[in-house]
């Protein structure tokens, strides 16, 4: 039984981490696409239109991989986590059912129109399609985060005699404070991902001196949206999230910070290695009082350490949890700096100066890091929730399917590894091909190619 549980967890972790690489770009990019299309329409600037068409192609490829990798997620509730589904289905099933009925149908109807309906619909209707599609993807995000928030901070349920939950208040379920905070935090993170991807591709074009007018627009939008989103990820959304963890999951907070002893004026450790056998943090560099401030708003508040909790309530993988949180927070901080600097350079008109080419390289190479930070953030949330499947109510060990043994799970895990590897390769090849091709210049823009011609020739 313990064996099977381990592989159930590995398979879910693998399939969800892989899946979420795609929707995080989908949701963020959907918003940027709306911005590009609106700018094209209202500023009557064909360059924005070209750029929107280019990013729509990337969006399309990314969207379909997100769709097909999303299917297994819902099914695994039943196949791998049957007892969890039995107990909680009457509650979280509402959010999952609504995601299908309200978000997926809307998205599926619109994505084809976004990809191929450009000429058929005209610019105004096409902008509306993009906006509604964006709404669909963002709704989908809320429904699924509501399901997760129930696992983090269960609300609006009553346990029946049969051992199954029943929903007591629909509104309470949908307005779970955890869901609101996690949603805001997560959606801002997805805008960060999309902004970094747009910046990275634009930086590449500038470095290669290709598609310069488009690249400049891409940098303008990507850097601006990126800075706003990076700041919002940290404050207020990340900050609110941290305060909720402190309030509802103090044991997770202690583990995230590698804090073994309770006490006032709790410090944040910027770096250090959690040493579980010795119950201490090795080689720490600390900021005194900072954790107290983040969690409770004053520098002297008492913050519980792991010693305040029985060992069987400690998160099961404190080391990974600790690093996941620190990677997320560390990267998030650096993102603000990078985007701040980028906007400063762009504002001063220095971005394309030879002296600042290294910055463009930095921007180009930065695109994987929001993916890493987002994944680390979700690992923080999910590992912090352990050993609970529904925090404080149902242990992870009690949630797996009854009769599915380790051999079956390993079989399907290998299947996913193989399929997802091949699909990942295809995805990368297709994306690189589109990036290499760049935006196809519309008839309008072709009339005024003077600004780019010399560079284009020089680098052809």
């Amino acid at each position: 039984m313990a064996d099977a549980l381990f592989w159930h967890r590995v398979q879910f972790a693998f399939t969800i981490v892989y899946h979420y690489l795609f929707p995080q770009l989908t949701m963020g990019l959907a918003l940027l696409l709306v911005a590009m299309k609106a700018l094209a329409l209202y500023r009557k600037d064909a360059l924005w239109g070209d750029l929107a068409r280019f990013w729509t192609r990337i969006f399309g490829i990314n969207f379909v991989v997100g769709v097909v990798t999303g299917l297994p997620m819902e099914f695994q509730f039943g196949t791998n986590w049957g007892r969890f589904s039995q107990v909680t289905g009457a509650v979280i099933g509402h959010t999952l059912g609504m995601e299908g009925v309200f978000a997926f149908f809307l998205e599926s109807a619109l994505v084809g129109l976004l990809l191929f309906g450009d000429k058929k619909l005209g610019p105004r209707a096409h902008l509306l399609v993009a906006a509604l599609l964006c709404l669909g993807t963002w709704m989908s995000g809320y429904f699924i985060i509501c399901a997760n928030a129930f696992m983090q901070h269960p609300v609006a349920y009553a346990m029946e005699a049969s051992g199954r939950m029943r929903l007591t208040s629909f509104v309470e379920l949908m307005a779970n404070p955890w869901a609101l905070a996690a949603y805001a935090h997560n959606m801002m993170a997805s805008v960060v991902t999309a902004s970094f991807v747009v910046c990275s591709v634009s930086a590449l074009w500038v470095l290669r001196a290709r598609h310069l007018p488009h690249a400049r627009k891409g940098l303008k939008l990507g850097l601006a949206a990126g800075l706003v989103a990076c700041v919002l990820v940290a404050f207020p959304t990340g900050d609110t999230q941290a305060k909720l963890v402190a309030r509802y999951q103090p044991v997770a907070l202690a583990a995230m910070e590698g804090r073994f002893e309770s006490g006032p004026q709790a410090e944040i450790s910027v770096i250090g290695q959690p040493n579980i056998p010795e119950k201490r943090l090795d080689n720490p560099i600390r900021i005194p009082g900072a954790l107290s401030f983040l969690a409770y708003g004053t520098f002297h508040s008492d913050v519980k350490g792991l010693d305040a909790f029985p060992k069987e309530e400690w998160p099961t993988n404190i080391e990974v949890l600790y690093y996941a949180f620190h990677v997320m927070a560390g990267l998030g901080t650096m993102f603000i700096g990078l985007m701040g600097l980028g906007n400063l350079l762009r504002w001063r008109g220095l971005l394309e100066r030879p002296r600042f080419r290294p910055f463009l390289w930095l921007l180009f190479f930065a695109f994987p890091f929001p993916y890493i930070a987002t994944t680390a953030g979700w690992m923080t949330a999910e590992l912090g929730r352990q050993p609970w499947l529904v925090f404080g109510v149902m242990r992870t060990a009690d949630g797996s399917s009854l009769r599915v043994h380790a051999g079956s799970v390993l079989f399907t895990l290998f299947g996913f590894l193989g399929l997802y590897f091949v699909m990942g390769l295809l995805f990368v090849v297709l994306i690189l091909r589109e990036v290499g091709r760049g935006p196809s210049v519309s008839a309008h823009a072709k009339e005024e190619p003077a600004a780019i011609a010399p560079d284009e020739v020089a680098h052809a």
Partner: protein
């Protein structure tokens, strides 16, 4: 309230079969009806605007049954662990086949996705039919509501046994008919002509297969027949099925033929649901542990309110998408279909 939900879930699954049935069917009949590069590309173009939305019916049915019948959801999904993942992998391959094919015009690229498209169509149709067969035959449920079932086995009932494969073949034929009827309606020229001819043959094949399946089902689970006879409303759906057979056989290349084949699927699925009601999961040997439709009413009522609103929107989306793409699927221009050697795009 659970009674209502029993039929709403059955309706969603039936709608999935009707709608994704034509995508999967188009994949299966494609080798028989599309002979030129242009025709092959046109088959993809014909289902292109719809397949994703059609697939959502399955996701929505899954999410909704988790909500309204969590015990049945957990039992069936856990018990059919391996075949369900095969379905998921098949859907994954099918999805990227449709969406990746047109991204390059390289001959190898196109022929690869043509092949995976057809194979995934056949495998998925068979598996969905086998799943229906399994649900009708029942599972070796224990007191805990869970079960384990071999994928195949020489003598004992298994996921794939004589009966379930028979149902699998019947459903595969029904999906193929659905695909042919869709193409006969939505395409013209030689392609539409061949699809219409095939539709006629497939209608006969489906009629025969359904009759054989009917008698086999009566042997495997005789109480279904008795229950059905006690509920005369079921005849309405049987009649719908029969009318569908007639329409699919006789109609010209119009919407009516597609309505006919859709009625065949919808009518049969709903009459099966009428016969099975209120059992969601049959226990093969011990009727006392069969999982029936029950549930606490206030939660089910909440689900009904969002479901009705959602379905009204879905109807709107379908009307919009079918209207935008009304008429026959246009010919695919040369530059968007021809598999040329080397990458034709650069």
């Amino acid at each position: 309230m659970p009674e209502v939900w029993f039929f709403l879930v059955a309706f969603m699954v039936a709608m999935y079969f009707v709608l994704d049935g034509f995508d999967l069917g188009a994949a299966m009949v494609r080798p028989f009806v599309a002979r030129t590069d242009e025709e092959r590309a046109r088959v993809f173009a014909a289902i292109g605007p719809y397949w994703d939305g059609n697939e959502v019916w399955l996701v929505a049915a899954g999410g909704t049954s988790l909500c309204v019948f969590p015990a049945a959801f957990a039992s069936v999904f856990g018990g059919l662990y391996i075949p369900l993942f095969m379905v998921l992998w098949g859907l994954l391959v099918r999805g990227i086949s449709i969406e990746f094919r047109h991204l390059s015009h390289d001959a190898l690229w196109v022929s690869f996705w043509d092949f995976t498209f057809v194979v995934s169509g056949v495998v998925l149709s068979l598996l969905f039919g086998v799943a229906v067969g399994n649900l009708l035959r029942g599972f070796p449920l224990g007191d805990d509501g869970a079960f384990e079932l071999d994928l195949f086995s020489g003598s004992r009932p298994a996921v794939l046994d004589l009966y379930t494969v028979l149902v699998g073949v019947s459903v595969t034929l029904a999906f193929a008919l659905q695909g042919a009827a869709f193409l006969a309606w939505k395409t013209d020229g030689d392609l539409g002509e061949r699809a219409a001819r095939l539709r006629k043959w497939l209608t006969v094949a489906v009629a025969v297969a359904f009759v054989v399946t009917f008698f086999a089902t009566h042997r495997v689970r005789p109480e279904l027949g008795a229950a059905f006879l006690a509920r005369p409303v079921g005849w309405l759906f049987v009649a719908a099925s029969l009318v569908g057979i007639g329409l699919a056989f006789r109609s010209a290349r119009t919407l009516l033929g597609f309505v006919g084949s859709s009625l065949v699927i919808l009518g049969s699925a709903v009459s099966l649901a009428v016969a099975a009601f209120p059992v969601l999961v049959f226990a093969a040997a011990r009727p006392d542990v069969s999982i029936v439709a029950t549930g606490e009413s206030s939660g089910l009522r909440i689900a009904l309110s969002w479901w009705v609103l959602g379905m009204a929107l879905v109807l709107g989306y379908y009307v919009t998408v079918f209207r935008i793409h009304r008429g026959k699927t246009p010919r695919v221009p040369e530059e968007a279909q021809a598999p040329v050697v080397g990458d034709g795009t650069t």
